[in-house]
């Protein structure tokens, strides 16, 4: 009992005394290519109490201010440890997943040659991805670096989840409006078990307009549930090696039926 209390006190209450260095602009910029060095640069040591407070605070702030993408990201990091472990195990039992974990590829404008992908034929994964980015005016550089996950393997899993999110949107043909985001969140919730995805799917649906809600109930939600529960684990897809693969082939391989609109 005494040793349990001592451990509890140490993890919850002992203040991390190591200074958080405020690096100058040149140092603070992540490489974007080497995950390990970016992880070491961005990692912030936190006690269990701080993680709990961050999880609660970011959840509340996400509801209050849904535009705070950083809050949603932090909620994913602090409230999703068991989900991250689940995802890591699922990746480790897949050959493609093991390769991803070994190489730790990144998806951003430094690592992905977007102009080259734009020259691929229509219907390929690469071309579909670039079309998605252009149509929805999003960039692969908008994903935040993981800060509050202490284990590097788990940190990579959540980083990878963030960086493939737009690719998942693209292959599921879901736009970045509220309806599209909620649908993708449902698929991700079933696949990843991240509380942030579950919360995003449930609370995001409350913000749908009446017209969107009708479509959501009639077709998007049932399709998302079916896709999320029956498709292959999307985190095991090494997208970077499949840019020239036709999307329809990929969907068939992953057991995903496109939604009938």
């Amino acid at each position: 009992m005494a040793s349990y209390l001592q451990r509890l006190l140490t993890t919850c209450v002992v203040i991390p005394r190591r200074s958080m260095v405020i690096q100058n602009c040149a140092e603070r910029k992540e490489t974007g290519t080497d995950f390990k060095s970016d992880f070491l640069r961005s990692h912030i040591e936190t006690t269990s109490l701080q993680k709990i407070l961050l999880a609660c605070g970011s959840a509340i702030m996400s509801l209050y201010s849904p535009m705070r993408g950083d809050m949603i990201a932090i909620m994913g990091e602090t409230a999703g440890t068991s989900a991250m472990k689940y995802m890591l195990e699922k990746m480790k039992i897949s050959q493609e997943g093991q390769e991803i974990l070994k190489i730790r590829p990144r998806i951003n404008s430094k690592t992905v040659n977007l102009p080259q992908l734009a020259n691929l034929p229509e219907g390929t994964l690469g071309k579909t991805y670039v079309n998605f980015l252009n149509k929805n005016n999003v960039t692969p550089d908008s994903r935040l670096q993981v800060q509050f996950v202490d284990d590097i393997e788990l940190a990579y899993v959540i980083q990878r989840y963030r960086e493939v999110h737009d690719l998942v949107h693209a292959i599921l043909n879901m736009p970045t409006n509220m309806l599209g985001e909620v649908t993708v969140k449902w698929v991700e919730a079933f696949q990843t078990r991240l509380p942030m995805c579950i919360g995003g799917a449930v609370f995001g649906a409350m913000r749908l307009s009446p017209k969107q809600r009708k479509l959501y109930v009639a077709s998007y939600l049932p399709w998302a549930i079916q896709t999320g529960t029956t498709s292959s684990f999307l985190m095991n897809v090494f997208f970077e090696k499949r840019w020239d693969q036709p999307v329809n082939d990929l969907l068939q391989e992953l057991n995903i039926q496109p939604m009938k609109t």
Binding site: M20, V21, I22, Q50
Partner: protein
């Protein structure tokens, strides 16, 4: 002790005693103006080169400026407003005071100073119509911009009564012997050389002028100190991340409080700069302290 005849403030009593030791006390170090490339200083709990500190502090305040006031309210539960109200009451300015507020970027002290005088003008007959003014000096332009926009939104402020100047507290771009009062609130712990700031304060003040500092200080009660440490290190960076989207600047802020000299040590530093009649008063059990001194 000879006081200058023209009194620029009403002398509010403070609780600590007088300190009339001569300037050349043996424990005073000469700050000199020479700095060495390998001179080190603290930045929170980290040791860095002294010449890097200004830039690092500038980056901290660049990143917090837009949410500075909101975070102050959140971290102190609004109590910082009371501390600043008491600070201005202790200063007790009279009409005609020329105030220099250093590191006062967003204008909290300046606005309170003008409000105090405005309320005093209403209750007293300012027959001479002597105008007071305040110069707000800050090293960070982003913080000054926040202050300027706040000033514009306050209809009762006459813009000619307040001027905004970018400058380094260690080397003020201002003439000597030109201000009646010098205030620095929650700024002095961020400077690289506290003693230079104090010397500059002495230089720009007129003889008889008053130096006042409001700064986080040391809590002496060990139980309260433990609670304060827990709150500072566990809660404040989390608040910074959730409210302002920044962790590291708020980690720096709580570390820098611990690095600042305690009440007595800071009093000695003020004395070494040449000030006299130095007193200090604790607020909130020593979480903050007001130091007051005169150039005589």
């Amino acid at each position: 002790m000879v006081l200058h005849r023209r009194i620029f403030w009403s002398m509010k009593p403070v609780s600590a005693g007088l300190a009339l030791l001569p300037r050349t006390a043996s424990y005073c170090h000469s700050s000199g103006r020479k700095s060495f490339d390998n001179e080190e200083t603290h930045f929170g709990f980290e040791r860095i080169k002294a010449h890097e500190k200004n830039e690092k502090v500038r980056e901290v305040f660049d990143s917090v400026s837009s949410t500075y006031d909101i975070m102050n309210d959140a971290m102190s539960f609004g109590v910082h407003r009371l501390w600043k109200d008491i600070f201005i009451q202790r200063l007790g300015p009279t009409q005609g005071t020329r105030l220099l507020d250093v590191a006062g970027g967003t204008g909290d002290i300046a606005f309170r100073f003008l409000k105090y005088l405005k309320n005093k003008e209403c209750s007293e007959n300012n027959a001479l119509g002597v105008k007071s003014n305040v110069t707000v000096c800050d090293i960070n332009e982003a913080m000054l911009n926040v202050g300027r926009s706040r000033s514009k939104s306050l209809s009762w402020i006459d813009s000619s009564d307040i001027s905004w100047v970018q400058g380094d507290a260690e080397k003020l771009p201002l003439n000597s012997d030109s201000y009646c009062a010098y205030t620095i609130a929650f700024g002095i712990r961020n400077v690289t050389h506290i003693e230079r700031v104090l010397e500059e304060a002495y230089r720009v003040l007129k003889p008889g002028g008053r130096f006042m500092c409001l700064e986080f200080s040391h809590v002496h009660n060990p139980y309260l100190q433990w609670l304060y440490d827990q709150y500072s290190f566990q809660i404040i960076p989390v608040m910074g991340q959730v409210i302002a989207g920044e962790w590291k600047p708020y980690q720096y802020l709580v570390e820098s409080i611990r690095q600042f000299p305690n009440q007595e040590d800071f009093k000695h530093m003020i004395q070494c700069a040449g000030f006299q009649h130095i007193t200090h008063e604790n607020l909130s059990f020593g979480v903050v302290a007001i130091h007051s001194a005169f150039k005589l």
